[in-house]
Amino acid sequence: MLPEKQAVKDLAALGGWGRYPLADTRAVRPERARGLTPVGEHCLARGLGRAYGDAALLSGGTLVLTERLNRFLAFDPESGVVRAEAGVTLKDLLEALVPRGWFVPVTPGTKNCTLGGCLAADVHGKNHHREGTFSNHVPEFEIVLADGSRQTARRGDDLFWATAGGMGLTGLASELTLQMTPVETAFMRVRHTRSKDLDRTIELLTDPGHDARYTVAWIDCLAGGRNLGRGIFMAGEHALRSEVSLRVANPLSVPFRRQKPFPMDLPGWALNPTTIKAFNLVYDWAKGRRTEFVCDYDQFFYPLDGIQGWNRMYGKRGFLQYQYVLPTATAREGTRLVLERLSQAKKASFLAVLKRFGPQGEGWLSFPTEGLTLALDIPFSDGLLTFLDELDDIVLSHGGRLYMAKDARMKPAVLRSGYPRLGDFCEFKKSIDPEGRFDSDMARRLGLCH
């Protein structure tokens, strides 16, 4: 059958998860596999729009929404290998496969994202130091190229390593194969350790004695002076059957929780340093209390997913995420400087997360490199963009780079100095997409292959 004529929908003022910047675009939304094909002069795949900035935006072009191409195609309960369309979400995978004893191998802090989006951003989770990025668990995928042809990309192919982390610029990923991780339960055994300052936080993250499969540290950005970098170190392991209370009849199922929608846009002033400080204190106290406990995977991996549309609490102006990684040698020094600047400027971040990355993967534009990564949310305010440019200087002078899936504002030069394989990427893109059909507002802003 021929691909049917696809209806086009106008989308005005569409944003990413941070709701800055906004763009006027159009979209198609194929419901059949063969409908996934490039349209118009410029187009771009969009999953659930969880990238924060303009990675999944294309002003004046056409977005190809993948959300309806979300069918599971094959699953082998023996090996845990699953094949699915790119619009399948991590939530879908968890709901279908955790009851059968298989967990997603790598997960970002939200389960509301698609396999295509996870591949294109080559996402990382709390287990990066042990298990690498998402693409590390993908034996192969299928992708629709600019000329409409479908190709299978296997590890070792240029197409594979250009696409993993390539932010949608190589084509429309259509199907992925993923190796899931075996688990005995849907629960996590978690340990929280308070840390008084940055040195201690880094020690907890790097010391093998404290290590676990999943580690992360939550940092109080408002603390300065002696307390700079204080926080809570969180370590988690998938709980074994014997570690889950016998009262839990089915240890592979998680109680259903209704999402509470975030009711409205909060006015911008609601998140000033004082309110954040109050929030931090409460959070700090609550999390610090129990040091070792068992909780379900939603509570451990996706605390924010429980509040639907929580991004609206940042008000109409939206917010920015800022995430960098610094190499091990300079990470301590660089992070200290960044935290000092943050605590001085009172540009408080609601959430600051510090995490150790293991060795770099092979994706050409894949973000994680060995060292420490810090991620912050910052509500939009006047002067914020200049402030972040100053942070960029610290990151670059310490040999680091920024994460495109979180970015909405870095300058082209910042990208260039952080990603040495940019040249290879653009050369390859030219060979498979000579007209530059796949494009995004982010690529235009960053001069990525432009």
Partner: protein, 249 residues
Amino acid sequence: MPLSPGPVLVLGATSAIARSVALALAAKGCSLVLAGRDEPELERIKSDLEIRCGVSVSHLVFDAEDETSHKAFWAQAEVDHGPFKGVVLAFGYLGDQQRAQEDWGEARSVLERNFVSAASILHVVAQSMETRGEGWIVVLSSVAGDRGRMSNYVYGSAKGGLTIFLQGLRSRLQKAGVHVMTVKPGPVDTAMTFGMDRLPLLADPQTVGKAIVAGLAQGKDVLYVPTPWRLIMFVLRSVPEKIFKKTSL
């Protein structure tokens, strides 16, 4: 009415609403037979339902417009996969009202695919279930069939005809212990409506699918989804024709 796990035949199984109804049925343990014209898509939906819900699913080629094939189609499907506990009829075609006004071919196709073809296959299914004395039938009609409006009366009349057909069929089959539920959705966010603007109370197919299966389990005769449409259509039906004809709804 408790849903028994027996096989359910879904006609027009590639429709987004059908897919979500199938998912909700599979989640309750029903095995499924998916029927439609687009085989590669049916295969994908089949594997999806099998993997998500662990039920057994088959698929069959079915063309609603090929009415002469309906009797044999049903007979064969019953032999291979039946006896069916339930049938979901979801195929339909919105068409283009403007084009339908200018081109009889389009108008005819809208009437055919929403009403005549549906009546044809229901004719066969009804006889069989009536003889057997059990089963249920769920049919996707539309709020559009509740009152003729200038903006979509061709589609509306086909769905209206279908609604009346189902009223009679329900009464007939009730005597034999077969339940018929008419579903009247408002606008649903599917390929049928994507790109149209100003759609009131646009519902997502997932919600609609769950509501349909819940309505079926409650033994509803007529189900408006989302529920406010029951009231809205009541009001719309109450407006005197003298006034209604002057509107451009």
